[in-house]
């Protein structure tokens, strides 16, 4: 795992940030950037390394979020236990969606469409049945204590978000140096060739979507604890699915630090745009979309690809 030193350095640099920033606003910004970096990393495992573009990661995110909130509100389960179970349920949803779509050989646009449809079915179900609070949503009661995964101080949330990102980095780094990861990349590059070499493509893709779903489920639980409110549009609406894929695409799909870079850049732009436009609705997303189009047009390997190219050039020059 040659990326371990880089991940360790990143952790050391980021950990003291809350004590350096001294600003609720900046800390909140950092938490959201880390949160979306982790969600993007979840997408990256399946989309970046596995080449399976999901347009419905909200299906996994929302399932995790609802698991976490229903378990603690209705059944009185400890939020930290619910957090772990949210990962399990997100992974379970990934397994179900993956089993159905990969079993029947859906790929490319068809796979994107079926994931979108699953998220939409779940959104409609969540707004129709009672135990999710239907359209009204679920309010998690405020009971601030670390044992309850509700921190009075944003620093606690920051550290959890950072821990999630580091976890995501470690999972992704292990992909880059494991047999499973090598097989996954082989499936992405050429599924037929991989199968001809004896790779069980179905099983590999299924593992990847389960892992990706579990990560998105954890992200959903974190979101619930941070905002203490959930409704069907937040959990299963298209906004989450779009964020999840934008972040790694801007940063660089199939790269370790791509989602982190993408999330940092996107959220800086979004904050900047909101200041510039005095919070006019929609304008920051217009900029998101435009950047996405421009990236695909001119920089298909993402920002991380640009970094790598500049470094290679500098290396050749010196």
């Amino acid at each position: 795992m040659k990326s371990i030193p880089a991940i360790a350095l990143f952790t050391l640099l980021m950990a003291p940030l809350p004590w350096l920033l001294q600003s609720e606003y900046l800390l909140n910004f950092a938490i959201m950037a880390l949160f979306y970096a982790f969600l993007g990393q979840a997408w990256n495992v399946l989309g970046g390394y596995g080449g399976q573009f999901s347009f419905g990661h909200a299906a996994f995110f929302g399932t995790g979020a609802y698991t976490a909130s229903i378990l603690q509100v209705t059944f009185g389960v400890n939020p930290w236990v619910a957090f772990v179970l949210a990962g399990v349920s997100g992974g379970g949803m990934g397994l179900i969606v993956g089993f159905l779509s990969f079993r029947f050989g859906l790929k490319g646009a068809y796979f994107a469409l079926v994931t979108l449809a699953f998220a939409e079915v779940l959104r409609i179900l969540a707004s129709a049945v009672e135990f999710t609070g239907a359209g009204v949503g679920i309010l998690v009661p405020l009971q601030q204590s670390a044992a309850n995964f509700q921190f009075a101080d944003k620093t606690g949330f920051y550290l959890v978000a950072l821990a999630l990102v580091v976890l995501g980095l470690l999972v992704t780094a292990s992909l880059e140096s494991s047999r499973f990861g090598a097989r996954l990349i082989a499936v992405r590059e050429d599924e037929d060739a991989a199968r001809a070499l004896g790779v069980n493509a179905f099983e590999i893709k299924l593992k990847a979507i389960t892992l990706s779903g579990a990560m998105a489920g954890l992200a959903g639980s974190f979101y619930t604890q941070y905002f203490l409110y959930l409704d069907p549009a937040i959990a299963y609406g298209p906004a989450v699915s779009i964020e999840a894929l934008l972040v790694p695409i801007i940063g660089g799909t199939g790269t370790l630090f791509g989602p982190l870079l993408g999330s940092g850049v996107l959220h800086s732009i979004s904050e900047f745009a909101q200041h510039l436009t005095a919070g006019a609705p929609g304008l920051n997303l217009v900029i998101y979309g435009a950047i996405m189009v421009l990236m695909v047009l001119f920089l298909p390997s993402g920002l991380w690809g640009l970094v790598v190219r500049i470094r290679a050039k500098a290396g050749a020059g010196s």
Binding site: F53, F55, L100, S101, R103, F104, L106, G108, A109, Y110, A112, L113, V114, L116, A117, F118, E120, V121, I124, L125, S127, A128, G135, P238, I242, I249, A280, P281, G282, L283, L285, V286, Y288, G289, A290, M292, V293, V296, L297, P300
Partner: protein
């Protein structure tokens, strides 16, 4: 359970809604059939056309049906330009890139509309919005009957265009064998852009048919694009007759789902149908195996 007084009007209502879905899906299926891309911006472009119809009515007092000769060519030009200027440049030989570009366009268009026109739900007030026609014991809304007739007319026009004109021949040639078409002197870029333009022009028709009875918001496209995907997948990607039948089936499914399961859960029938078709018969009811 199956009370005819409710069942028949709901079915007819479903058929008329389905006709508009069919028009939207015709555009989507043409674009897929020729360019092999799934246009995620389809719903957003429909929303733009609907705002076009809305403003033509409120600012200039132009009736939605009389707006057809303005809206349809404008949408065609927009589609032609988008394909030539943006989408064709993004392909880099990878399907994913086109998917992402059309998704990016959708995000831009939706949120620009939100910024410019706010999230208010807007409707127009035509004198005939609540007019009805009697079919035996059943009353059907006049604008919806017009939509149904227009949808069938559009399907026939498309069929004529594809089978009887040189452009249709060229489009079919490019759809079947791009390189071969290029070799016999067909301007492929032009045919691609024409197909995209025609597909988007369908949205202009749909917008004019919808607005007398429907509302417009910046997010209205998302609901329609999902339904249009369902229709296209159900009918078979690239099949015109499939889009027509698929639209009608989805319209009836939605209407009956709403009748028996309630408004909020009724929509689920469409997506369950969508997932089932994608899983068991991704080539659709009328699609050819590729």
């Amino acid at each position: 359970m199956l009370e005819l007084e409710l069942f028949i009007p709901a079915t007819i209502n479903g058929l008329t809604n389905g006709a508009v879905y069919a028009v939207i899906a015709l555009g989507l299926t043409l674009i897929y059939g020729v360019l092999h891309i799934i246009n995620f911006a389809h719903g957003s472009l429909l929303m733009l056309a609907m705002y076009g119809v809305f403003f033509l009515y409120t600012l200039f007092g132009i009736d939605p049906y009389l707006a057809l000769p303005i809206v349809v060519p404008t949408m065609f030009a927009l589609g032609y330009g988008l394909q030539r200027g943006v989408i064709s440049r993004a392909s880099h030989g990878k399907d994913e890139n086109i998917l992402l570009v059309t998704l990016g366009l959708a995000i831009v268009i939706d949120n620009l509309a939100l910024y410019l026109w706010s999230s208010d739900t807007r409707i127009i007030d035509t004198p005939y919005a609540f007019a009805t026609i009697e079919f035996g014991p059943v009353l059907v809304s006049t604008p919806k009957v017009i939509a149904l007739v227009a949808a069938v007319l559009i399907a026939v026009l498309f069929w004529l265009l594809m089978t009887r004109t040189d452009l249709g021949k060229a489009i079919r040639a490019v759809a079947k064998e791009r390189t071969g078409a290029e070799l016999v002197g067909i301007n492929v870029d032009h045919v691609y852009a024409m197909s995209f333009g025609l597909g988007i022009a369908c949205l202009g028709v749909a917008a004019c048919l919808l607005l007398p009875t429907f509302y417009v918001t910046p997010h209205v496209g998302f609901a329609f694009v999902l339904i249009a995907f369902t229709v296209v997948v159900l009918g078979g990607m690239g099949s015109f007759m499939g889009a027509l039948w698929g639209g009608l089936i989805i319209g009836v499914t939605e209407s009956l789902g709403g009748l028996y399961l309630g408004e909020s859960l009724g929509q689920i029938g469409i997506f369950v149908l969508f997932i089932l078709v994608l899983l068991f018969r991704p080539t659709g009811l009328m699609g050819q195996r590729s």
